[in-house]
Structure formats: C-alpha cells, structure tokens
C-alpha cells in the first residue's frame, strides 16, 4: 500500500519535473548557442521561451497551475531577477506574468532568497519546496536548476496547488485504515488522511519516522494505534 501511495505521489511530480527538465534544457541550449556567438543572456531570451512555456503548461493540463523560468540575481546585469511566468486561469485561459520590473507581482518574498532558488543554486538538484502560504494560495513549488557551462543561472519552476496534489494521491491515501501522512524534509505534513495530524502541522519526529520516498527528503508515515 505504501508503494501504491509513493507511486501516485512520484508520478504526479514526475509529470511536472519532466516538463521542467525540458524547459531547462531548451533554455540552456538557447543560451549556449548565444554564448557561442559571444552574446550575453538578455530579457529577450526569456521572451523566446514563451511558446515552449505555453505548450508545457497545456500539456500539464492542470497538474501545475503556473510555470516559468526565473533567472538568478545579476544574470542580466543590474537586475535582482528576471522571469517569464505563465499562469492558468480558472477559465482555462493562459495569463502572462512576464515582467521583472513590477516587483509586486508574484511572490511576496524576495525571489533570490526563496528556497526554490537558493536550494537548486546550492545543490544543483531539482527540489520540491512547500507546502507554503503564498498570500492567498497554499502551494508546492517544483524547481529544476538551469546550468550553463557549469554556471547556475536560474531555475525552471512550477507551482502546484496543494489541493491538486492531494487529489492525485487521494485514492491510495483513502485506502489506509491507519492514520497515514506524507511529510516533507522539515517534518511538515503535506497530505494526511486524519485531522489529528492535519496538513501544514510540523513535528521534528516525523523527520525520521516512516519510510523515505527518495523525493527531497519526503517520507510516508503510518501512525500505529499505540501512538
């Protein structure tokens, strides 16, 4: 049963990660071609990516509700960050959220300090960050590093609503008789089948209990009746 749940969770993420890896490699290719001609990364490169981003968002079919490419600090000289970001509206239309010069857009937190940027920068590995509160949404953010000639330049990232992720694991999760949780590397509950261990609650002990999922330190925990 554990395997069933793990498989559902991993395949939900793998679908998104697949698109992010593709976006990352497409952008890397674009930049490598440019640097062969001695030109630097510019905002227009982000614009060039837009058709690919639209296709990726369409293919994900609601598995992620927004995605894009976010460049790290000073990759385009003098900018804190630059991004090309698309969002899926409730009516199914795709909205552009493209410009780095309007800092009230997107995340309230500083982009370059956000964990979905700092962790891939540090480890050069894909990450799942969250769940976390982003103003009026409860989110998971998946990010894949973009590395060009051994330099980290930013991430290809996607936001997944926790509700949507929960839906993709609801069936295997509902089949557990015992209280069952998926927790992240901080010991925070991501999904659970019981209100006594609700989503968002955190417990140091969860960091070592249960079985690891080989996914960013996430674990599946079955709470025995004795607990």
């Amino acid at each position: 049963m554990n395997d069933f749940l793990k498989q559902a969770a991993c395949s939900a993420f793998e679908k998104v990660f697949g698109e992010l890896r593709l976006m990352s490699s497409q952008f890397t290719q674009l930049i490598e071609n440019k640097s062969a001609q001695n030109s630097k990364v510019a905002e227009s490169d982000l614009k060039h990516m837009r058709p690919s981003l639209v296709k990726a968002l369409m293919r994900l079919d609601g598995s992620a509700f927004s995605l894009g490419i976010i460049l790290d600090e000073n990759i385009i000289p003098g900018t804190d960050y630059a991004l090309s970001w698309l969002e899926l509206s409730a009516d199914g239309s795709i909205q552009e959220d493209s410009n780095s010069r309007y800092p009230w857009r997107g995340n309230f937190y500083e982009y370059t300090k956000a964990e979905w940027m700092s962790l891939p920068r540090l480890n050069r590995e894909p990450v799942v960050v969250g769940p976390y509160v982003d103003f009026d949404k409860y989110l998971l953010t998946l990010a894949v590093p973009i590395v060009v000639s051994d330099h980290f330049i930013g991430v290809a990232a996607a936001d997944v609503r926790l509700d949507d992720f929960e839906r993709s694991v609801a069936y295997p999760l509902s089949r557990f008789e015992l209280p069952c949780l998926i927790v992240n590397s901080e010991g925070r509950v991501v999904v659970s089948n019981t209100t006594s261990h609700p989503v968002g609650s955190i417990n140091e002990a969860y960091k070592t209990l249960g079985t690891p999922m080989q996914l960013c330190g996430w674990r599946i925990i079955l709470i025995e009746a004795a607990c």
């Binding site: 509206s89 309007y102 309230f108 964990e115 509160v133 103003f135 949404k137 409860y138 901080e186």
Partner: protein, 262 residues
C-alpha cells in the same frame, strides 16, 4: 484555500478580491498598498499607464481617475514631457497631514475595534506559528524583525512590520490569516505608517516582534499568542493618544478663533 481556488486570475496580491476589482477605489487601494508595502520605492516611476492598466485589469480611464486621486493624496506626482511619468512620493508632508485628518475622524470605537482585530489576528497567527513554523519561517521572521529595528524611516519600519505580520500568518500555514493580515494593511497602512513616525513606537514594536519570534522558535504556543495579543493592544495606546490630542488641538484652535471674533 477556497479563496485561492475561486480566483479567476489567481495571480497576485492584487487578485485577492476579484469581485471588487473594477472600480476606481479598488485601484487606488491596490496601488496604495503596493506603495505602502514597499513594492514601489519612494521616487520610483510607476509603469506606463497602458502597461499598468493591463496589469491591474482595468480600463485606462479607471486607471487615470485612480492616479488623479493618489495625486490628491500626495502619494504620487506626475511630471510631464520627456523622462516624465508618474512617480511615487511616499514621504511627502501631504500624505502625513492627510493621515492625521483621517485619524482625527476615526471614531474611538473604530480604533479600538481595529486594535482588537489586529490583536486577534496576530495572537492566532503567533499561536499557530509556534506549533507550525519551520526553521526557514523563523529565519524570515528574524530578518523582517531586524528590518523593523534598522529601518531609517517611518515608512520603511511600517513596511517591514507589515511583512513580518504576513510572514507570521504564512508561518502559521494559514491562507485565511495571511489574506486577513494583508487586507488589514490594505485598509490601514496609512494609520500604521503614522504610528511608526514615533521612533519609540517603532522600537517598542521591534521588541515585541523579536520576543514573539523567540517564543515561536521555542514553540511556546500559549505564551507566543498571549504576548502578541497583549502587546498589539498596548501598541495602539500611542495612536489613541495621538487621536485625542489631534481632536483637542482642533477644538482648542476653534475656541481661540471664537475668542478673536468676540
């Protein structure tokens, strides 16, 4: 979470109340909040009107009306010609005077009610955060707390304070509390900025935030909640005094004027 999934745009802080997003007053509120929360710096040029109206999902006409109102408030100034545009002027005397007039006109009940509401929000957020904050949440709380301490202006202190409150609600893992904290600032950032003009108030707040952060870090659920609740109420003392002295000085002036007429 229900709030988020109902949004037609699902985009940003500006999308929090999509049902009200078409009127001039909502554009004024959203731009004012963006300025007050530090998304626009003092002296920064706003995006071109065409871009801004698209971003805000309103017509050019509505945007122009809203900008005119913000100009009257002294929050922005428009310079014509080449290199011209609409510039943020947050520190102007006009904004301060306007805030004082609004505080004077605020009823004692409304002020007390606001202090109760903020105390409840922060108390609940602190309690939940104490049981749910991760080390990275706490690191951010510490950072915003330090920004309040090291703020060099009232507006910078107010911004950092606002960010702290919203981060505390985020650390509590509550979408509702985080939205509520933001809405409170949408409505009352002018008032909180006025309070922060008093350096003593800013220092007192910074101490409270540091103490709350410490208790959240130590997972002292009850203590964090009680402290946040009590100190928030106390922090309104200076605003209450200010309000009363504004009313008093106005009626004193009127009395003086009355004498000269006689």
């Amino acid at each position: 979470m229900a709030l988020g999934s109902d949004l037609p745009q699902g985009v940003t802080m500006f999308s929090l109340r999509p049902q009200h997003l078409t009127g001039v007053s909502s554009v004024v509120t959203r731009l004012r909040t963006a300025i007050d929360l530090g998304f626009f710096e003092d002296g920064e040029m706003l995006p071109k009107e065409a871009v801004l109206s698209k971003e805000l999902h309103v017509t050019a006409f509505t945007l122009r009306e809203a900008l005119a109102e913000l100009r009257l408030e002294g929050l922005v100034d428009t310079k014509p010609g080449r290199g011209g545009g609409t510039f943020v002027q947050r520190t102007s005397r006009m904004a301060h005077d306007k805030a004082e007039i609004r505080l004077k006109d605020l009823s004692a009940t409304a002020l007390r009610d606001l202090s109760d509401w903020k105390a409840m929000l922060l108390g609940e957020a602190a309690e939940l955060a104490a049981s749910r904050a991760s080390p990275s949440n706490i690191a951010r709380l510490e950072e915003y707390c330090n920004r309040v301490l090291s703020a060099t202006s009232a507006i910078a202190a107010c911004r950092a304070h606002a960010r702290f409150d919203i981060e505390l609600a985020a650390a509590a893992q509550s979408v509702r509390l985080s939205s509520a904290a933001l809405h409170t600032y949408e409505e009352y950032s002018w008032l909180l900025a006025l309070a922060h003009e008093d350096q003593g108030y800013t220092e007192e707040c910074a101490q409270t935030l540091a103490a709350v952060t410490k208790m959240v870090g130590q997972r002292l659920v009850h203590e964090a909640g009680t402290l946040a609740r009590d100190r928030t109420r106390i922090s309104f003392e200076s605003l209450a005094k200010k309000r009363l002295s504004l009313i008093a000085s106005r009626s004193h002036q009127q009395a003086l004027r009355g004498h000269t007429v006689e």
